[in-house]
Each structure stands twice: as C-alpha cells, then as structure tokens.
C-alpha cells in the first residue's frame, strides 16, 4: 500500500522561529508533492507544491526542500506566526493513477 510518512506528529514553536515538518516516501511513481494546511472545522487548503525536478520551492515564508535521492521532503515555515497554528499535511501524487496520498499530519502550535 502506498504511503507517505510524516513527522513529527505535533510541533510547538515560538513566534518568529522556523518550524520544520518532515515527510518521506518510497514509491518512485510519485511525481508531485503538495503541502496542505487545515484549520479546525475547515477543509485542507493547498499551501505550496513541488516536482522532483526541483530541490527547493519558495513562496513567501514557506519553503519546500526536496531530496530525490533519499526520497525525503520538508516544509520550512519561517518567522512562524500564531495564525500559522493548524494541522499540516504533506501529500504525494502517483504519476500513473493521479491518486494523491496524504501523510498523517503534523499539528503545529505557534506560541506568541
């Protein structure tokens, strides 16, 4: 069964710090890696995504680092704000079936 591993399960940082969320996978058929965040009672919303041709993607305070050889990728949230507190999911899309598999999520809390 295809899966994406995500860690840590929960993370607490102070306002202004950089939060680092990690994911890994095994299937070589994955070719697209989005990150979503989800606030309580809401649906997942796309934050940023990367393809394996790149090893880094930036969008404002959010940066994905991608290591194709080790099949690992991470989301760095710079200058974390209390409003960033949410559950973050990494995901991976299968190039053959377009199936999108989600990681187990990281509950991020940013303290003021």
């Amino acid at each position: 069964q295809q899966q994406v591993r995500q860690s840590p399960q929960s993370l607490t940082v102070w306002e202004g710090e950089t939060a680092i969320l990690n994911c890994s996978y095994e299937d070589s058929t994955f070719d697209y890696f989005p990150w979503y965040h989800q606030f309580p009672g809401e649906s997942p919303a796309l934050l940023i995504a990367i393809r394996p041709v790149s090893n880094k993607k930036e969008d404002g305070r959010f940066t994905i680092f991608f290591n194709k050889r080790e099949k690992k990728f991470s989301l760095h949230i710079a200058d974390s704000q209390p409003g960033d507190s949410a559950t973050y999911f990494c995901a991976a899309k299968d190039s053959n079936t377009n199936k999108v598999v989600f990681g187990t999520g990281t509950r991020l809390q940013v303290l003021p």
């Binding site: 069964q1 697209y32 989005p34 979503y36 989800q38 309580p40 809401e42 649906s43 997942p44 919303a45 796309l46 995504a49 559950t87 999911f89 995901a91 899309k93 299968d94 079936t97 377009n98 199936k99 999108v100 598999v101 989600f102 990681g103 187990t104 999520g105």
Partner: protein, 112 residues
C-alpha cells in the same frame, strides 16, 4: 476563485440506510476524488475518478460504496447500506492533470 461545492454539509441517517453525498467539482477539472477524515485525523484516500471510470480505490472503499458522475452532473458517493464506522467527514476534491486537488468544505456524515 474556483470552488468545489459539497451538498449537504451535514447528513444524519440511521444505520442500514442509503446515503448519497453530492459534489459539484470545478467545471474544467478532470480528476475527482473522495477522502474520509475522522475527527481531524489523517485524510484517507477512498477513490479517484477520471473520464467516467474509477482509476484507483483503497481498501476503505468497501463493496457498499460506489461513485458515479452521470452526464457531467454531480460526482456522487453512495453508501448502501451504511454502518456506524462510516461516520466521518467526507471530502470531495477535483483537479486538472498534474495539479494538487482542490477540496470542498466536506460533508459530515453521522450514522446512528
């Protein structure tokens, strides 16, 4: 921006009854998905659908589940009969090829 609409937002039914969850995808999207989420936990892939056919389904997509999109109308998830363990929030999503799925607001299903 484009939105995926889900109807209803909340459905309460008795165990053993049939339920149909409706999804109105973004008009030019080609790929459609259903996910199940319990209590803000992991987003669990159920099924994806393209060109009138199921592309892949997970082990969670039991025999009691079915999906269809007749003549470009709603993309539906039908559960017949329902079981207590089907209580969850069901998210519909849609995408173009090579893009991250866009999620609807979800339907909260309560099976009594």
């Amino acid at each position: 921006g484009p939105k995926v609409l889900q109807i209803p937002s909340h459905q309460i039914i008795d165990m053993g009854q049939m339920v149909t969850l409706n999804c109105d995808p973004v008009s030019n999207h080609l790929y459609f998905y259903w996910y199940k989420q319990i209590l803000g936990q992991q987003m669990e892939f159920l099924v994806n659908f393209y060109n009138g056919k199921v592309m892949e389904k997970s082990k969670l997509f039991k025999d009691q589940f079915s999906v269809e999109r007749p003549d470009g109308s709603y993309f539906t998830l039908k559960i017949q009969p329902t079981a207590l363990e089907d209580s969850a929030v069901y998210f519909c999503a849609s995408s173009l090829d090579s893009q991250a799925p866009l999620f609807g607001e979800g339907t909260r299903l309560s099976v009594l």
